[in-house]
């Protein structure tokens, strides 16, 4: 064992050291804008991305470190890059918003970086222990971030809700893990997988395993925010300040997706018939409830919260469609479809909340549907970007969202879940309605209240433009990202 064996954890080590450095450096930063800290954080993220790319170049299939507690594979590296990008975008979008509200403190940046570290540990987790470690690191930082605006009763209430329900879900997850550990005698995912395969032959052991599995799926569903474990999502999205909403709607979801892959696909492939059934129920309920309830919302953040629930349901459609049977297998097709959906969703959600931040200014929070009225008159460019994002969320071609839906529907149909796909498709029509309403408000209605032209923010505007147009570009040329996703799940 030499230090060279530890090179694959370079990004994590770098981020840990860097985050501490940024925290200390921030003590000496005087200006309100925290220019130095923000720039340092961005540089750190770029370095981590480089390190991940470097590690990825040396990754063959799967690297297992620390006695199996830590895994590095293409999937982990890809998801980590997605997390860096979303955190980096979050920093860019939220800077002037937080500065104007005197909320841009050092804690924001350090908490953000440490929660990112949690996500990375989670993504690379090789045992139940690391899963829990990463999850708690990420979640504790997020609880604090939600309460960032401590003078706002709404924010503190949301943080309290998030914390209590988060603790409950962690408890469920731990309970499930203890069951599985009791049955298999191991914490390491791949050993668990072997033991599960051996044990599931006998019905007594199998029922114990399935019992544990139920709690694990419930815990995962909490973190992912799918029905019926979705209660916290609308309140937290609504109560948190918009930058924090942006953060919890992107990176942590990616991490929860990774957690799902690790704990279900890696650790319990033999029980796939059981967890696929559970996921099917969760998926359909989420798509239905998310899309239907979103229609009734007048607050954009709440609407996007319900839309997030629905989107997680669509994503699950891919996860539950992997099978290995007599007619061949479509595991990698199905999981890569989910992965593709997850990445596209992250780009979309970052863009949509980024737009809300961009349109806000001192003394005005753009968060109600009516605040978007007549945006096309005030700023045609931003209206067009928002329109692209909305059509992408609705899954209308030629935007990236269409291919994401196409991929998961294809996985579902290939696995024989034609009726599941039909129901999901019809519910996505319901979803199209409220995304269309946003476009309608921006394009067809007259501005009310806010009539001033949108204030220009060079850096934020540029990144936002790139973000929106990227969805269109991916809609015209999706092959590259799809191929990456297929390669990433090939080794699962």
């Amino acid at each position: 064992m030499t230090w060279l064996d530890h090179v694959p954890v370079l990004p994590e080590v770098l981020l840990l050291v860097g985050a501490c450095a940024v925290m200390i450096a921030d003590l000496y930063v005087k200006d309100e804008g925290r220019r130095t800290s923000v720039v340092l954080a961005q540089v750190l993220l770029a370095l981590c991305a480089l390190a991940t790319l470097f590690v990825d170049a040396g990754t063959r299939n799967r690297l297992v470190l620390f006695d199996g507690h830590f895994i590095v594979d293409h999937l982990a590296n890809l998801l980590k890059i997605v997390c860096y990008v979303s955190v980096s975008a979050a920093l860019v979008y939220s800077r002037s918003y937080l500065e104007e509200r005197r909320l841009l403190r050092g804690e924001f940046i350090s908490l953000l970086l440490f929660s990112l570290l949690g996500m990375m540990v989670l993504i690379s987790a090789g045992s139940f222990l690391t899963v829990f470690l990463g999850l708690e690191l990420m979640s504790l930082c997020l609880y604090a971030l939600v309460a960032l605006n401590r003078d706002s009763a709404q924010s503190t209430e949301a943080a309290m809700k998030y914390f209590v329900l988060g603790a409950l879900s962690s408890g469920l997850l731990l309970y499930g893990i203890s069951m599985i550990y009791g049955a298999t005698g191991s914490l390491q995912l791949f050993e668990v997988a072997q033991q599960v395969m051996r044990l599931s032959a006998s019905s007594a052991d199998r029922s114990l395993l399935v019992f544990g599995l139920v709690f694990i799926v419930a815990g995962l569903a909490f973190k992912l925010g799918v029905v019926p474990f979705h209660m916290w999502i609308p309140d937290v999205y609504h109560g948190a300040t918009t930058p924090v909403t942006l953060i919890i709607s992107s990176g942590p979801k990616v991490a929860a997706f990774a957690m799902m892959i690790r704990m279900l696909v890696n650790a319990m492939p033999t029980l796939s018939a059981d967890w696929q059934q559970m996921l099917a129920l969760l998926a359909i309920l989420s798509i239905a409830l998310g899309n239907i309830t979103a229609i009734a919302q007048s607050n954009l953040k709440r609407m996007l919260a319900y839309s997030a629930i629905a989107h997680m349901g669509f994503m699950l459609l891919g996860l539950l469609s992997g099978y290995v049977g007599a007619n061949g297998m479509n595991r990698s097709d199905a999981y890569s479809a989910s992965l593709f959906y997850m990445i596209i969703y992250t780009i979309m959600t970052v863009g949509s909340f980024g737009m809300l931040l961009y349109l806000s200014h001192a003394g005005f929070d753009c968060e109600n549907l009516d605040d978007l009225k007549g945006l096309n008159r005030r700023s045609p460019w931003n209206a067009m970007l928002m329109m692209i994002i909305m059509f992408s969320l609705a899954g209308i071609p030629p935007t990236a969202g269409f291919y994401a839906k196409l991929a998961v529907f294809q996985a579902a149909v290939a696995a024989g879940h034609v009726w599941l796909a039909v129901v999901a498709v019809l519910l996505s029509l319901v979803g199209a309605f409220y995304y269309l309403r946003v476009v309608k408000l921006m394009y067809f209605d007259e501005p009310v209240g806010e009539t001033a032209p949108v204030r220009a923010q060079p850096v934020g505007g540029f990144v936002l433009g790139a973000n929106g147009l990227f969805l269109l570009l991916l809609g015209i040329l999706p092959q590259g990202l799809m191929a990456l996703c297929v390669a990433a799940v090939a080794a699962l």
Binding site: N376, P380, M387, F391, I396, P397, P398, F402, Y403, L406, A407, F409, Q410, V413, A414, V418, A421, V422, V425, L426, S428, L429, A432, F433, L436, R437, V439, K440, Y443, F444, P478, Q479, M482, A483, V486
Partner: protein
């Protein structure tokens, strides 16, 4: 290369127009130049097309999304080539028609039409199902914007209704396509789907999957209710494109997907399609008569006329299918012309109510003459394009059953009734009010637009051979294909 140009030249022009912005003096000229250029690049399709073969021509094939084996695969046969030309031609007229009328968000207006024109060319030339779907759905976005921003008072309702109605249909089609993809062993090529054997029950389910998508677009009775709203509220240009091109997507879909891919289900369910078509022809014909809004009247007459197309396709003989296709093209010209005529009046009077008009011939004689021609074409008078298609479909129907032909032929009565009565009330009689008395006749711009359409309508009516010749080989091949069971 020609087909790619036909798709991307208008889209590129649209992006340029959008970038120029509303205040630039160049916006309108660039839009016109883009539309004309878009038409010019399609001309080789007319001159170099080989009508003796049913094979795809001007084929382009590139890998697009290797993950799902989706290709950028373009090509036209005798069935689709004319629609590309029709669409590019109509786009020029639309650009000219909006020249002085549209003042609000000019660049977005022209960009929407140009982008939509490119997307529509894509629909007619796509040989890959996903490519088809992307173009098919993509057209919703510009049309939604067009109706919603520049439409009439009830435009928002109409735009949302239009979008959701058509999206509902297309989503079911998407599932049908995915099913076929898996059955065909992982191929989205439409030609591969022709060969996939399918049991009758599956064919029927798929048939309904496609039916919703195409029936909503056609639109067939009883899913036509979005059309009068969308047409009525859309700006003139929007109505023209809707009637002339967008409605053709549905009928085209039947010919391109339903008939060759699901021949057994098509034969099995032909009775349903024929019944729905006849209801559209006869019942909607009657509904048309009582309309009091000019645009609504023409919209309903469109439903009735499109019923002829679907009727023609599902009687499975040469007269029927060719007649349906000719009817589609003819209706493209005639309905475009009629909506432009209404647009001419609306721009001057800002009302679409028939009751507000009367005696227009006294102040606008040139306009009255043009409208006379188009009204005649709409009611299917011989020597106009409207006659050819309807006559062929009725002949085809006669070969199948006397009673189908009988019901279909009633349209000649209803068509004459609603069109001529509309014409009489608007154009003839004493001058109805001061505003009609102050009307000015056609200006040069309007004269050119209507003149071009008049020439085409007469040409197609007097000498339709070039049109039928183009489609003959492809239609014969299609019918041969439909006759073969593939259970």
């Amino acid at each position: 290369m020609i087909l790619s140009l036909a798709i991307w030249v208008p889209i590129a022009a649209g992006v340029v127009v959008l970038a120029l912005g509303d205040r630039s003096a160049l916006t309108r000229p660039v839009a016109l130049a883009g539309a004309i250029l878009g038409f010019l690049v399609t001309l080789p399709l007319w001159t170099q097309f080989d009508p003796s073969t049913s094979a795809m021509q001007f084929v382009e094939l590139h890998r697009w999304i290797a993950r799902f084996n989706i290709n950028y695969h373009l090509g036209v046969d005798g069935i689709s080539v004319l629609f590309v030309l029709l669409n590019s031609f109509i786009t020029i007229l639309v650009v000219i028609a909006g020249w002085t009328v549209v003042e609000n968000k000019v660049s977005q207006y022209y960009a929407s039409f140009l982008v939509m024109s490119g997307l529509l060319n894509g629909v007619f030339s796509a040989m890959d199902a996903v490519l088809f779907y992307v173009f098919f759905e993509g057209t919703l976005i510009p049309m939604f914007i067009i109706i919603g921003i520049w439409g009439g008072p009830n435009r928002v309702y109409a735009a949302v209704k239009f979008f959701l109605y058509t999206l509902f249909g297309s989503l079911l089609m998407l599932i049908a396509m995915l099913y076929l993809y898996n059955q065909a062993g992982g191929s989205f090529a439409i030609a591969d789907w022709h060969k996939v054997p399918l049991p009758l029950r599956v064919q029927e389910l798929l048939f309904f999957g496609f039916l919703f998508a195409f029936a909503v677009k056609v639109p067939m009775w009883p899913v036509h209710t979005w059309l009068p709203d969308a047409h009525t509220e859309a700006p003139t240009g929007g109505s023209v494109v809707l009637a002339a091109i967008l409605l053709k997507l549905g009928a085209y879909g039947f010919v391109r997907f339903t008939l060759p891919i699901l021949p057994d289900a098509s034969r099995e369910l032909a009775w349903l399609m024929i019944t729905l078509s006849l209801i559209a022809i006869a019942y909607i014909g009657l509904v048309t008569i009582v309309q009091v809004d000019m645009k609504r009247l023409i919209a309903y007459s469109s439903v009735s006329h499109m019923g002829f197309c679907t009727l023609g396709f599902f009687i499975f003989n040469l007269y029927g299918v060719e007649g349906g296709l000719v009817q589609m093209i003819s209706h493209g010209f005639v309905s475009a012309a009629l909506f432009l005529c209404v647009g001419v009046l609306y721009d001057r009077m800002h009302t679409r109510q028939i009751a507000d008009y009367g005696g227009v011939v006294n102040t606008m004689p040139k306009f009255a003459a043009f409208m006379m021609l188009f009204a005649m074409a709409n009611s299917g008078l011989p020597a106009t394009s409207g006659f050819v298609g309807e006559f062929m479909v009725i002949m085809g129907a006669m070969q199948k059953s006397f009673w189908i032909a009988f019901v279909a032929a009633t349209t000649l009565i209803w068509g004459a009734a609603y069109t001529l009565w509309l014409y009489k009330r608007v154009i003839f009689g004493p001058v109805a009010n001061d505003r009609v008395a102050r009307l000015k006749d056609l200006n040069v711009r309007e004269f050119i637009v209507l003149g071009l359409l008049a020439i085409t309508v007469l040409w197609m009516g007097v000498y339709p051979k070039p049109f039928t010749e183009f489609m003959h080989a492809s239609v014969t091949d299609l019918l041969r294909h439909v006759a073969q069971p593939k259970l």
